[in-house]
Symmetry: C2
Subunit: 372 residues, 2 copies
């Protein structure tokens, strides 16, 4: 998507053919900055500190992290070490393991001299595949938005609520939850997005609002507390969020607070959709309750970073001295609350059968391209 | 309750017998500051800017605001003007109108020379009555907490979740939602409070955490998004919140986001209680959906105020330039989601019958002491 009018991805190979460029998402929305990752440790740090974040982008960054490791050392031991280092950067998004497995599958049985080149090729493919998946999610979701638009009075926008950032910043480009939104906007469908702030890290207010603004999509930032009230008053036509991991039976792990919006959607008959690329589906795990939930540092809850009236970036503490905090990163929305999973193969019911029929090759244990 | 070990109320008559002292709650949790209100406009400004807030405290402050108006001018016209000025400061909490009606009832039919004295006397009574009501809520709610504690393993705390601040800072003293919490803590019942941050104004992180900390009650500040996840994992034994207005059929208007927690409580069989003093019950309004919901300034959502590492208080903007915001202050939780209303007359079902049986004098239109 565009930044200051210029088409941009969240991750790219630099012109030297080996270092990897990324947008530093911790500087947004106040400053657009990029970073060069030159080593495995650079990549691991970028993922762990959330300079890059979002399940699909984490996968892409891990793939390139493996490339950077191989550039320094292409031994089996180095591959194992890089796999372990990258896998432990974040625990919840399954895309991380998915991408690492993809990478290992193409490099393991090659001569050492060919491994780095094969890895860079596969990492680039993973990035391009992510964009293609999100474009397909956009096409399928567009139909859902158009169906709602058709029932609206002339001039009335379709009101979409989203939580956290499952936008192009969370992916390589286009976004999962935002795929349908950008597709509709670009086609001229009138819509408006309610953007949940998404405490404690504010990915909604910082990232989703920023990217929608850059692309010209009408939106309004709201407190995470607000969505239920809006739904009670007919001010939300549909919810679309992303996911960090979908279980085989259709439970959806996503940013903390997603479950609360799903409950409100159910209570008010508002359709609740998930932009769910297949790399985010974990066919090896049936029950979403078993997904590990990341607990992050308390400072994310205790503080807020923003810009002062005179343009300085300051971090302020917003709790009393001595008050403990807890910071759970994700929750699990049971499949019963999910209207549909918008995948690259269509809008699927959030059921074991629905997922299995659309992705038979994954259910049979034959994970495409996965060798470990 | 205590501030730095010293018993303190949120509002008091100063030693000059006419000006009114309050805690400036906009300075908390970073600084404990007090203000002197000398005129009607001082009182109106303190309520509108939320230097004093919380439904019961708004009522008490409005009562004293009427006193300050009478001190300057005790004419019928001045009373009407003060009533109008104070009533429009905040739209949602019914305690404001309740207190103003109480005041008018005792001053209207007196000689002008006696009005101010009668008003100060009645305002002091309203304050003392609020404390007595909250103590009664505490006694009734204590029983609920003790019942849960009795089923816990030895050493395990009762985990209470609360939203916003319905603590002693929201009242004259003791608090509504916190009445049972302080009663249990003071009696030695082991408990722990999950404190919702409560965006956009952070009354949970700023005020509830501060007052629980001052009183030594174990607590943890969490993002508003977190409660559903905690309930899914058995980490919340009960929810207690306050209310700005309860409708005659038991719908509960409270801080935005309360409805989402009520949905999660229902979905996980967690009891959901409201600390509901009778002045917050609006017997003239059946359906909670008709309660006016205050929309406040967007800057509350767009910014955060806190202290920097070197101790300065700074306000920072946390959204992109140009992104619009919306700021709905309250939502309405339907009675079907409420386990019980903890009133000064006991724990009542959230039904028309339940409320009517406990407060028959209110249902018959004979609002106690209300003359207009």
């Amino acid at each position: 998507m565009k930044v200051n009018g210029k088409p941009t991805r969240t991750i790219w190979l630099e012109s030297d053919g080996s270092t990897v460029g990324v947008i530093d998402q911790t500087a947004l929305p106040h400053r657009f900055a990029t970073l060069k990752l030159a080593t495995l440790d650079d990549a691991a740090r970028a993922i762990a500190t959330m300079q890059v974040r979002g399940a699909p982008l984490i996968g892409a960054a891990a793939a390139y992290g493996m490339c950077l490791a191989l550039r320094a050392d292409a031994s089996d031991e180095a591959i194992d070490r890089a796999y372990a280092v990258l896998l432990k950067t974040r625990p919840t998004a399954i895309n991380l393991k998915w991408a690492l497995d993809m990478m290992v599958a193409v490099i393991r049985n090659r001569p050492r001299s060919e491994r780095a080149a094969a890895a860079y090729k596969r990492a680039a493919e993973i990035c391009d595949e992510d964009v293609a998946i999100n474009q397909a999610i956009g096409r399928h979701g567009l139909k859902l938005i158009e169906d709602i638009a058709a029932k609206k009075k002339p001039g009335e926008p379709v009101n979409v609520l989203t939580h956290c950032n499952a936008g192009w910043l969370a992916t390589v480009d286009v976004g999962t939850a935002t795929g349908p939104i950008y597709a509709a906007h670009d086609k001229g469908v009138k819509l408006h997005v309610w953007v949940d702030e998404t405490r404690p890290r504010n990915q909604g207010a910082s990232l989703t609002a920023w990217e929608l603004g850059q692309h010209g999509v009408p939106h309004t930032v709201i407190a995470d507390n607000t969505g239920g009230h809006l739904m009670q008053h007919g001010m939300v036509d549909m919810v679309i969020t992303g996911t960090d991991r979908v279980s085989a039976q259709g439970d959806v792990c996503n940013k903390i607070g997603t479950y609360l919006k799903a409950l409100a959607a159910k209570d008010n008959n508002v359709p609740f959709y998930i932009g769910a690329p297949s790399p985010s589906i974990d066919f090896a795990l049936n029950d979403g309750a078993a997904i590990p939930i990341e607990q992050r540092g308390g400072e994310e809850q205790a503080t807020m970073t923003g810009r002062t009236a005179d343009g300085r970036i300051e971090t302020v503490t917003v709790i009393p001295e001595g008050s403990p905090v807890a910071n759970y990163g994700f929750d699990v929305t049971p499949a019963r609350l999910v209207t549909g999973l918008i995948t690259e193969r269509g809008v699927l019911p959030a059921t074991r059968d629905g997922l299995a029929r659309a992705f038979p090759e994954r259910v049979n244990g034959l994970r495409v391209g996965v060798g470990r």
